[in-house]
Amino acid sequence: MRVRILVSFKDSVLDPQGQTVKNALHTLGYDAVRDVRQGKVFELELEGATRKEAEALVPEIARRVLANPIIEKFDWEILKGR
């Protein structure tokens, strides 16, 4: 099974990189862009995991390692497999 985990800053945390990208987009004339948040994407290949196992495993990995819960949040989805 392949899963994708998206880690980004919590809304309450300032994201200076996202702000810089937003400013660049405005400079290029993309005035419709109201805000930009930058994050990280992880794709994990899980060996022989069922959907139920993945639902326990992936959030644990995300909370414990991939994201720092003090400043970051995460979302995840299954890309391939059951």
């Binding site: 945390v13 200076p16 720092n68 003090i70």
Partner: protein, 249 residues
């Protein structure tokens, strides 16, 4: 001359690059027995104080300090700290202490998204800690920083607790000791440059005291922190005479 000399251990991760600077400052400048501690070991070798040096542990992949906290030695450091052992985290070492949960908060990228490598001034907010007792409250130290991620952040409640418990030990300030937005070069919350844990035996700071421990380096202010630590363990004023008596032949 009853108490034994304080001993230090400097932790080495792959990617540490201030480990030998710290060793030099402790062993040669402060003249105290100092050993290197390898991140894969399980033994702190009986040292009185563990120093987590600056650098880029494990390449700072994922997040600064994020991988280093899982190393075998850090589990020992965590137990050592919880038992009251003194731990000093410098720059990357501070970031590792945050990830390890020995200190509250997290580091964000510097507000202007620049790697900052320069001398800064920090003000001693509390001179009663084991890391500052050789200083005076309000004293201004001139010590260099060198980091990309030193923009200290803590959720509102954690910040309130830090302030209420007097855990903010150093703040960025100008040469006169005034905490200004301009002097807070990385944008840290409440201009925080260094904090301690509640018990007072763990301290992390972004500036590098080991790079300001000799006049030839442009500042000796960093010695204050090492002198404080030594004072806290050896429990006697470090007079010139004892310093000379301890000097190596």
């Amino acid at each position: 001359m009853s108490a034994a000399a304080m001993t230090f251990g400097v932790v080495q991760f792959p990617g540490s690059n201030c480990d030998f600077d710290a060793y030099h400052a402790l062993r040669r400048v402060m003249n105290r027995p100092t050993v290197m501690l390898w991140h894969k070991d399980h033994d702190l070798r009986g040292v009185d104080c563990v120093v987590l040096p600056g650098g880029f542990a494990y390449g700072d992949y994922l997040r600064v300090g994020a991988i280093a906290r899982f190393s075998p030695l850090m589990q020992e450091v965590r137990a050592f700290a919880r038992a009251g052992g003194r731990v000093l985290g410098i720059c990357n070492g501070f970031q590792v202490l945050l990830e390890l949960g020995l200190l509250p908060g997290a580091m964000l990228r510097n507000k202007d998204l620049k790697f900052l490598c320069q001398h800064v001034h920090i003000r001693v907010e509390d001179a009663r800690t084991d890391f500052t007792r050789a200083a005076k409250k309000g004293q201004v130290l001139r010590i260099p920083i060198a980091h990309f991620d030193g923009n200290y952040y803590a959720p509102p409640r954690a910040l309130r607790d830090l302030e209420r418990n007097g855990q903010v030990v150093f703040r960025y300030c100008d040469a006169d000791g005034a905490v200004t937005a301009e002097a807070n070069v990385n944008g840290s919350l409440a201009a925080i440059a260094g904090i301690r844990n509640r018990a007072g035996n763990v301290l992390g700071l972004m500036p590098h005291p080991e790079r300001a421990a000799e006049a030839v380096l442009g500042s000796e202010d960093g010695r204050t922190i090492f002198e404080s630590l030594i004072l806290s363990v050896e429990r006697r004023p470090r007079t010139r005479r004892t310093a000379e008596a301890k000097a190596r032949p």
